[in-house]
């Protein structure tokens, strides 16, 4: 039995009320969306909260719309199950639909939200444990300690970004709207390019604070020949977080030649890893022809060299590295369907 520590619960009805409640918490508030990440972490006592601000009644944070430019505007409170099955997401951003569809198990996808997956805390086999377990071993850099159990002598936490949808959103060039309570200096709103959200510190791998509210996810329009895929390495076919995740993007011209290519790998370190240089080898080749197959072999090799998993999450890290080229190949195949 894992009890939650004591906190107060508030359930505001608008974005303005949420940001005010978070501002009033003086940094001791936490945002509750689907609860599938926040509540286990609170139970494990490596995050703390005096006030939990539930978004459940903030209807303006829900919904998937096609924006004026033909891209997507997604409310962060939209469930992962809805993202995975939405016709507009499947058409405009197939990699995101595939990634959302592989998150955890069916119940988690019904409860869990896209915003929650974007803001997911990093994971490590030494931190996602009970307080008792961690106190027996000795606390680590992520919370309450000064040692790293992954990298001996390490001074920076290397817990892994484990959000499946982050790889897809990075490949799609998404941007994120955040809101803080207004002050005399401004209205508290800002927009970040998706990759600018992350920093290489697993203790908190984001450049926004935990009390900054994600209010919208924007995905630019994708061209007619856009293809996207996401594949995930895990021990079981359900429930598990990724041991490795690869999102692929291929934009084809009318003749079927690749004009733009991208690969993003997740669950290596604290931020998503873009394998851009390797992906560029695919540009100018045509799937189905020999030049594409040659390029794919080169991309697999380059990705293997660039991606170096650490023993931070379960699964032998050397095996995870061996799986990088395999999953790069599968992600490209998933994009081409």
């Amino acid at each position: 039995m894992l009890r939650l520590p004591k906190f107060n619960l508030v359930s505001p009805k608008s974005i303005d009320e949420v940001v005010q409640a978070l501002a009033d918490s003086k940094g001791r508030g936490r945002i509750l969306a689907g609860g599938t990440d926040l509540l286990p972490n609170l139970k494990h006592e490596f995050i703390e909260a005096d006030i939990v601000v539930s978004l459940g009644e903030v209807d303006e944070l829900r919904g998937i719309e096609v924006s004026a430019d033909g891209g997507l505007s997604i409310g962060p409170l939209t469930s992962l199950a809805d993202i995975a099955s939405n016709e507009h997401v499947l058409r405009i951003a197939p990699a995101l639909a595939q990634a959302a569809g592989t998150v955890a198990g069916p119940q988690h996808r019904i409860m869990g939200t896209i915003g929650g997956n974007v803001m997911l805390d990093t994971r490590c086999q030494w931190i996602n444990q009970s307080h008792f377990w961690r106190s027996s071993l000795g606390f680590c850099l992520k919370k309450d300690g000064t040692a790293c159990h992954v990298v001996e002598g390490g001074s920076r936490c290397v817990a892994a970004a484990s959000n499946d949808t982050a790889a897809a959103l990075a490949s799609l060039g998404a941007s994120l709207d955040f809101q803080n309570a207004p002050t005399e200096h401004g209205d508290g709103k800002r927009t970040l390019e998706f990759e600018a959200l992350f920093k290489a510190d697993g203790a908190w791998n984001k450049k926004v604070t935990p009390t900054e509210l994600l209010t919208r996810i924007h995905i630019p329009a994708t061209p007619r020949g856009h293809r996207g895929g996401y594949v995930k390495l895990r021990l079981r076919g359900s429930i598990d977080f990724p041991l490795l995740g690869v999102a692929s993007r291929l934009d084809l011209d009318e003749a079927g030649k690749i004009e733009h290519a991208d690969l993003v790998v997740i669950a290596l370190q604290a931020r998503p890893t873009r394998v851009r240089k390797a992906a560029k080898l695919l540009i100018g080749t045509t799937p189905g022809q020999a030049n594409y197959d040659t390029a794919v072999a080169q991309v697999m090799d380059a990705a293997y060299k660039q991606c170096t998993p650490l023993p931070n999450i379960p699964g032998d890290h050397e095996w995870r590295q061996e799986m990088v080229p395999v999953y790069v190949k599968r992600a490209l195949a998933a994009a081409l369907g």
């Binding site: 004591k6 619960l9 609860g35 198990g105 119940q107 409860m111 429930i239």
Partner: protein
């Protein structure tokens, strides 16, 4: 810091006024305040699915829902499955419960209430799922005893009987007249 908050919940079709602390989960409220212990407390961190309840008809993990966020939602626990079936004009057990019983789709029974609610939610949405769809729908519920075979076969039996089709012979009954024994047992659990 936290104090009791008054909640009005809809549980198994009944309106209930209860009080809970802000940090209580729906599972804790169901089990330890209301006394509905059919929802099981397994891992308590969203891995196992034993605490699955239906929230507005969809399977969710009650160990990861704050009780204070449950008002306004229709919550169905395993205790409400048969009453809901009878209210809808049925007799005996819910067909999913009946099929689990006749297929022996349990050993220790700890996962069973979550399994049956996930199966019920699936059949409400898709009355004729194939085996792959059944396995996908049950993939958030762990069973450490059965190896899942009888569980999947139980859902297939419930599906086959709902459309009047001949149930498939299950893996464990190759040479036995299993459909006869099934029909003789049908309606069990009514006592």
């Amino acid at each position: 810091m936290s104090s009791l908050i008054a909640l009005e919940l809809m549980i198994n079709g009944d309106r209930m006024r209860v009080s809970a602390e802000a940090h209580w989960t729906l599972l804790e409220l169901l089990r330890y305040e209301i006394g509905l212990t059919g929802s099981k407390q397994g891992c308590d961190k969203g891995d196992c699915g034993a605490c699955t309840v239906l929230v507005d008809g969809k399977p969710q993990l009650s160990c990861l829902i704050l009780a204070g966020t449950a008002p306004g939602k229709q919550i169905q626990t395993i205790e409400g499955l048969q009453p809901a079936h009878r209210k809808a004009g049925g007799t005996g057990l819910d067909p999913v419960q009946d099929a689990f019983d006749r297929c022996g789709a349990l050993q220790c029974g700890f996962c069973q209430s979550g399994m049956m609610l996930s199966a019920r939610a699936l059949l409400n949405e898709n009355p004729t799922p194939d085996r792959a769809e059944i396995r996908e729908a049950l993939s958030g519920n762990l069973c450490r005893c059965t190896g899942y075979t009888q569980i999947v076969e139980a859902v297939e039996l419930a599906v086959a009987e709902s459309v009047g089709a001949e149930p498939k012979t299950p893996s464990w009954a190759k040479d036995k007249p299993w459909t006869e024994s099934l029909s003789s047992k049908k309606g069990g659990g009514d006592q």
